[in-house]
Symmetry: C2
Protein backbone atom coordinates (compact mmCIF):
# COMPACT_ATOMS: atom_id res chain seq x y z
CA UNK A 1 0.00 0.00 0.00
CA UNK A 2 1.31 3.44 -0.89
CA UNK A 3 1.96 6.12 1.70
CA UNK A 4 -0.13 9.26 1.28
CA UNK A 5 1.81 12.44 0.55
CA UNK A 6 0.12 15.83 0.24
CA UNK A 7 1.89 18.85 -1.18
CA UNK A 8 0.17 22.07 -0.11
CA UNK A 9 0.93 25.23 -2.01
CA UNK A 10 -0.56 28.58 -3.00
CA UNK A 11 0.68 29.01 -6.53
CA UNK A 12 3.56 31.25 -5.43
CA UNK A 13 6.90 31.13 -7.28
CA UNK A 14 8.59 29.49 -4.29
CA UNK A 15 5.79 26.90 -4.28
CA UNK A 16 6.14 26.15 -7.97
CA UNK A 17 9.89 25.66 -7.70
CA UNK A 18 9.53 23.39 -4.69
CA UNK A 19 6.82 21.36 -6.38
CA UNK A 20 8.95 20.83 -9.46
CA UNK A 21 11.86 19.69 -7.33
CA UNK A 22 10.45 17.64 -4.52
CA UNK A 23 7.17 16.25 -5.79
CA UNK A 24 8.91 15.05 -8.93
CA UNK A 25 11.63 13.39 -6.86
CA UNK A 26 9.36 11.27 -4.69
CA UNK A 27 9.23 7.57 -5.36
CA UNK A 28 5.90 7.14 -7.15
CA UNK A 29 6.04 3.42 -6.49
CA UNK A 30 5.74 4.05 -2.76
CA UNK A 31 3.97 7.40 -2.48
CA UNK A 32 0.55 8.49 -3.60
CA UNK A 33 1.04 12.24 -4.06
CA UNK A 34 -1.77 14.77 -4.01
CA UNK A 35 -1.11 18.43 -4.84
CA UNK A 36 -3.47 20.91 -3.16
CA UNK A 37 -3.63 24.63 -4.05
CA UNK A 38 -4.82 26.17 -0.79
CA UNK A 39 -5.50 29.53 -2.42
CA UNK A 40 -8.09 27.92 -4.67
CA UNK A 41 -9.27 25.15 -2.36
CA UNK A 42 -9.78 27.00 0.89
CA UNK A 43 -12.01 24.17 2.16
CA UNK A 44 -8.80 22.20 2.67
CA UNK A 45 -7.24 24.87 4.94
CA UNK A 46 -8.61 23.32 8.12
CA UNK A 47 -7.21 19.93 7.27
CA UNK A 48 -3.80 21.45 6.50
CA UNK A 49 -3.75 23.37 9.77
CA UNK A 50 -4.72 20.27 11.74
CA UNK A 51 -1.83 18.41 10.09
CA UNK A 52 0.51 21.11 11.41
CA UNK A 53 1.06 23.13 8.24
CA UNK A 54 1.85 26.78 9.06
CA UNK A 55 3.25 27.95 5.73
CA UNK A 56 3.39 26.89 2.11
CA UNK A 57 4.91 25.15 0.33
CA UNK A 58 4.67 22.18 2.68
CA UNK A 59 4.74 18.45 2.18
CA UNK A 60 2.87 16.20 4.57
CA UNK A 61 4.50 12.83 4.28
CA UNK A 62 3.10 9.96 6.29
CA UNK A 63 1.92 12.40 8.96
CA UNK A 64 5.20 14.33 9.11
CA UNK A 65 5.06 18.02 8.10
CA UNK A 66 7.95 19.30 6.04
CA UNK A 67 7.91 23.04 5.44
CA UNK A 68 10.00 23.55 2.33
CA UNK A 69 11.47 27.01 1.94
CA UNK A 70 8.90 29.74 2.57
CA UNK A 71 6.33 31.14 0.19
CA UNK A 72 3.46 32.35 2.35
CA UNK A 73 2.07 31.88 5.84
CA UNK A 74 -1.12 29.90 5.99
CA UNK A 75 -2.71 32.75 7.93
CA UNK A 76 -2.46 34.87 4.76
CA UNK A 77 -4.69 32.44 2.88
CA UNK A 78 -7.79 32.64 5.04
Amino acid sequence: MKTKAIFYHAGCPVCVTAERSIVAALDAQRYDVEVVHLGERTARLGEAKRAGVVSVPALVLGGEVLHINHGADLSALG
Copy 2:
Protein backbone atom coordinates in the same frame (compact mmCIF):
# COMPACT_ATOMS: atom_id res chain seq x y z
CA MET B 1 22.25 8.85 -15.22
CA LYS B 2 21.08 9.63 -11.72
CA THR B 3 20.59 13.17 -10.44
CA LYS B 4 22.77 14.10 -7.50
CA ALA B 5 20.95 14.94 -4.28
CA ILE B 6 22.74 16.10 -1.15
CA PHE B 7 21.03 16.22 2.24
CA TYR B 8 22.91 18.55 4.60
CA HIS B 9 22.24 18.28 8.30
CA ALA B 10 23.82 18.83 11.69
CA GLY B 11 22.52 15.89 13.69
CA CYS B 12 19.76 17.99 15.27
CA PRO B 13 16.37 16.40 16.06
CA VAL B 14 14.68 18.42 13.29
CA CYS B 15 17.39 17.17 10.92
CA VAL B 16 16.93 13.54 11.89
CA THR B 17 13.16 13.71 11.42
CA ALA B 18 13.52 15.39 8.04
CA GLU B 19 16.10 12.88 6.91
CA ARG B 20 13.89 9.95 7.85
CA SER B 21 10.99 11.46 5.96
CA ILE B 22 12.39 13.01 2.85
CA VAL B 23 15.59 11.14 2.09
CA ALA B 24 13.72 7.87 2.44
CA ALA B 25 11.00 9.10 0.10
CA LEU B 26 13.24 10.01 -2.82
CA ASP B 27 13.21 7.77 -5.83
CA ALA B 28 16.50 5.86 -5.50
CA GLN B 29 16.22 4.79 -9.14
CA ARG B 30 16.62 8.40 -10.22
CA TYR B 31 18.52 10.07 -7.40
CA ASP B 32 21.95 9.42 -6.00
CA VAL B 33 21.59 10.69 -2.43
CA GLU B 34 24.48 11.75 -0.25
CA VAL B 35 23.95 12.64 3.41
CA VAL B 36 26.44 15.17 4.83
CA HIS B 37 26.72 16.01 8.55
CA LEU B 38 28.03 19.57 8.46
CA GLY B 39 28.81 19.58 12.17
CA GLU B 40 31.29 16.75 11.67
CA ARG B 41 32.41 17.55 8.14
CA THR B 42 33.07 21.27 8.33
CA ALA B 43 35.21 21.07 5.19
CA ARG B 44 31.94 20.77 3.29
CA LEU B 45 30.54 24.05 4.70
CA GLY B 46 31.94 26.16 1.86
CA GLU B 47 30.38 23.94 -0.78
CA ALA B 48 27.02 24.05 1.02
CA LYS B 49 27.12 27.84 1.28
CA ARG B 50 28.00 28.18 -2.40
CA ALA B 51 25.02 26.00 -3.26
CA GLY B 52 22.80 28.45 -1.37
CA VAL B 53 22.26 26.53 1.86
CA VAL B 54 21.63 28.91 4.78
CA SER B 55 20.20 26.50 7.34
CA VAL B 56 19.93 22.81 8.01
CA PRO B 57 18.31 20.49 7.27
CA ALA B 58 18.50 21.27 3.58
CA LEU B 59 18.26 19.18 0.46
CA VAL B 60 20.11 20.24 -2.67
CA LEU B 61 18.35 18.55 -5.51
CA GLY B 62 19.70 19.01 -9.01
CA GLY B 63 21.02 22.45 -8.04
CA GLU B 64 17.82 23.57 -6.30
CA VAL B 65 18.08 24.28 -2.55
CA LEU B 66 15.18 23.12 -0.44
CA HIS B 67 15.35 24.24 3.18
CA ILE B 68 13.23 21.77 5.07
CA ASN B 69 11.87 23.00 8.39
CA HIS B 70 14.56 24.68 10.49
CA GLY B 71 17.12 23.07 12.74
CA ALA B 72 20.07 25.44 12.78
CA ASP B 73 21.53 28.31 10.80
CA LEU B 74 24.65 27.44 8.88
CA SER B 75 26.38 30.38 10.53
CA ALA B 76 26.16 28.51 13.84
CA LEU B 77 28.24 25.66 12.45
CA GLY B 78 31.39 27.56 11.58
